[in-house]
């Protein structure tokens, strides 16, 4: 386990699972099929904001963390960000449903599973034995430009505003 710092390269071999948006599976009671997302490869030629939450549908994540990213989405994209991705320990189906429940249907914000909290564990940013920590990162063409893990329970360094100020 090595922590990720500004200036580091985003590690190779990082994968998440997710359910890509399709018109037929648009509704929240319509479940799609999870697929692998090869993060390390996908991030190589893009500017990415990646943030992690301890759990889908949990109070802080739903009320205080995710909405900030939804509100500031235009500004974030305006700074040349190609992908905004949120991850948690929940499986891809639950993440897909959480996205739909928040009215995010297409690919504005991608909802993915850090299956087995593999990635979060590899950088030492977990909460308890099963959940990811609450953190945010900016990765620009494979290079880590910003990486902060919340020290306490609030949404500060991992929130949309903090990330925006670094873009």
């Amino acid at each position: 386990m090595t922590s990720l710092k500004v200036g580091d390269s985003f590690p190779a071999g990082v994968e998440f699972t997710y359910i890509p948006y399709t018109e037929e599976k648009d509704s929240i009671t319509s479940c799609g099929s999870p697929q692998q997302f090869h993060a390390s490869e996908e991030f190589a030629d893009k500017k990415v904001v990646l943030f992690a939450v301890p759990g889908a549908f949990t109070p802080s994540c739903s009320v205080r963390h995710l909405p900030g990213y939804m509100e500031h989405w235009n500004e974030i994209k305006g700074k040349g960000v190609d992908l905004v991705i949120v991850i948690a320990m929940n499986d891809a189906w639950v993440m897909s449903a959480w996205g739909k429940a928040n009215g995010i249907k297409k690919d504005e914000i991608l909802f993915m599973s850090d299956a087995g909290i593999k990635f979060s564990r590899s950088i030492g940013w977990t909460k308890g034995p099963e959940r990811t920590g609450r953190y945010a990162m900016v990765i620009d063409h494979g290079k880590v430009m910003y990486a902060e893990n919340e020290p306490a329970g609030d949404v500060t360094v991992s929130g949309a505003e903090a990330v925006l100020s670094k873009l």
């Binding site: 929240i28 009671t29 319509s30 479940c31 799609g32 099929s33 759990g55 889908a56 549908f57 949990t58 109070p59 929940n90 499986d91 189906w93 639950v94 897909s96 449903a97 959480w98 429940a101």
Partner: protein, 133 residues
């Protein structure tokens, strides 16, 4: 929620699914239970509870998404698949198997069947359970 305590003296249908928001569970398993709630109650069932390995926030959201409110159908977390594992009915890895049980008021189990294939909904479905009541 201490099931063994709270369900004493009640007739309970307990349904286990591999996962909230997953295709089989959402499309084939859950809806017939929602549709047949009154029929189940007519047969003397006090509580219908759906459990999965997902945490209770996710289970609660799954219930709301399916527009189940009140106390008709309870959505609960079989935390750590405790219940499923102890009875040898866990499914794939960390998930529960797909099964249904009827627990009578005196605490005896009058029906308990696990799907041979977790992709199917037969012996654990609402129809099968209704037939037994």
């Amino acid at each position: 929620m201490d099931a063994s305590q709270q369900w004493k003296g009640k007739k309970v249908v307990l349904v286990s699914v591999p996962g909230a928001f997953t295709p089989g569970c959402q499309a084939n398993h859950l809806p017939p239970y929602i549709q047949n709630i009154e029929k189940l109650k007519d047969k003397g069932v006090d509580i219908v509870a759906v459990i999965a390995f997902n945490d209770s926030w996710v289970m609660s959201a799954w219930g709301k998404v399916n527009k189940v409110s009140g106390e008709d159908l309870l959505f609960m977390s079989d935390t750590k698949t405790f219940f499923s594992k102890n009875y040898g009915w866990s499914g794939l890895g960390e998930r529960n198997g797909r099964w249904a049980m009827v627990i009578e008021k005196d605490g005896t189990v009058s029906y308990a069947e696990v799907e041979q294939s977790p992709r199917e909904v037969k012996v654990s479905g609402a129809d099968a359970v209704l037939d037994q009541l």
